[in-house]
Symmetry: C2
Subunit: 309 residues, 2 copies
């Protein structure tokens, strides 16, 4: 057993507008959020991604400082970094994409560094399922746990490949609307059962501010979202969630439903920090003590006594 | 201390259409659901309501059989019972009102039976705030707990009276959209704080399938909705919730945040039964053993271990 975590995902520039303000081009991308979330745990975390010549070295320095292994990050000097800009509406639950420039992403042929070909856990962040499969195929040993994330775009346009991938992972993490879209089941319980029948032993359904559900066989675990006084910028919440979830699991000797429950809480706590500042700022500055405190507040939020019978 | 619970609310006929079927005219109304939920607890529960000559005696018999005190229910023989019909959309989270016939409701001058003028707990179900205030004014002793429910219609058109009422209750129970509408705050934490500043010591925010939040000072408690394989008919879920919540509290010697947390779970369990059948059927047939079992499933749904630090 090693403590290596391999993360596939985008490294990007984002420009974000929320009711509270507007950013210029800031650091973004799912691999970035996942890596920063994972950096709070004792794992050797390697990223696989692609960036352009415009990707500032200060951001690479930041990620290195956080002990993230960037051997799997390719930089194409003559290309530009993947760019996304979006605007959140007043309720912060919905957003409009203003612009997507794929840029380097169109030239992405991921190569897993030899050091990570035996990683214990692989997290396939939200990307083209062809690329997700490519990374999985390069592993020399079957990881203890393969986790995948996806989104509506891939469900609509890459269904066949996506189904191939789903059949090969242990954990699928998607949001409620996507779970319904994938399975054509409105009930999330039925949707999760349908997804498990396709392969994954665990299904995570993310519900944004309403929390997350974890399904495994007939077992269900549920955490509410932490009620926050202020939500500043939801970008990266899902990635922070799955990053914290996964990195916590890499640390555990045994990975079963019990450890996954705690991991769901860790992920939720991580996401709750991310949304309180623009971009990756909160994850960068987070201390372990703050994380522990917030996890405890999840406990007190949901704990109750029964004295029936 | 007595165990009397006074409930103000409608007794109605509903006609409901969901993706799973359609009912004829069936028993409905918030006092009905609340009373049936309360009937599972050791309280003396009296209803205040008004019905028409068309209200079938079999329904009155049913409520009496459940030990509900109907002295406060006026029947106007020459009038018709309040009628509501609605159609739920495919997601069951949204509905369209097809028809509302106020009928007897327009002649409602509530009179609290002398037996209930010293009730320990008063639950003012969703109705015209003038009528809710009228009932409160008839109490001879200040109840230990006054709980109110309301909805968007009263917020829009009866704001001044509604504010007078809010200032006089201990607990307000509303759904998330209504909390935002009432306070003009998007954050539910801020909305709850704003509501508490108006009077109530406790604020309950209902989020339908996403569960419920309880606020008291700086304390927050949260329960997710129980993930159900099938939701059949959401009508009465909120009333069953507050009915179970309130009746459980009437049984408790002390009523503080701790007891309220358990009460929130009881209410959520009650609502989870209601939505599994059309109308009041599930509440009518529910056994105490089934209720206990479901409350325990809420516990296992949210319980987790932390071993951080």
């Amino acid at each position: 057993m090693n403590n290596k975590l391999l993360v596939l995902g985008t490294m990007a520039y984002d420009a974000i507008e929320t009711p509270f303000g507007k950013t210029g081009r800031i650091l973004g991308g799912c691999a970035t959020y996942i890596g920063l979330a994972a950096s709070h745990f004792k794992t050797q975390c390697g990223l696989i991604s692609i960036i352009g010549g415009d990707f500032e070295s200060k951001y690479l320095d930041l990620l290195k400082e956080k002990k993230l292994d960037l051997k799997g990050v390719v930089q194409l000097k003559e290309e530009k970094t993947f760019f996304w800009s979006g605007k959140y509406h007043n309720d912060l639950n919905t957003r409009t994409t203003l612009e997507t420039q794929l840029n380097v992403l169109t030239k992405f042929n991921p190569e897993v560094p030899s050091k990570f070909k035996d990683a214990r856990v692989v997290l396939l962040g939200n990307l083209d399922p062809n690329i997700q499969l490519e990374v999985l195929n390069q592993m020399t040993t079957r990881p203890d746990l393969v986790i995948m994330d996806t989104m509506n775009f891939w469900i609509e346009s890459y269904r066949e490949k996506l189904d191939q991938l789903i059949a090969r992972v242990d954990v699928i993490s998607i949001n409620d609307e996507e779970a319904r879209q994938l399975t054509q089941k409105y009930s999330l319980v039925e949707a999760a059962q349908e997804l498990m029948a396709q392969g994954p032993r665990y299904v995570i359904i993310k519900k944004g501010e309403h929390g997350a559900l974890l399904f495994h066989g007939n077992d269900i675990f549920c955490t509410p979202g932490l009620p926050l006084e202020e939500v500043f910028d939801p970008t990266g919440a899902g990635d922070s969630f799955i990053g914290g979830f996964t990195a916590f699991l890499v640390q555990q000797e045994k990975i079963s439903f019990e450890e996954m429950k705690t991991a769901i809480i860790i992920g939720s706590a991580m996401a709750s920090f991310t949304v309180q500042e623009f971009g990756t700022k909160a994850l960068e500055n987070l201390s372990y003590g703050e994380l522990v405190k917030r996890v405890q507040s999840f406990k007190s939020l949901t704990e109750f006594e029964i004295e029936l019978i």
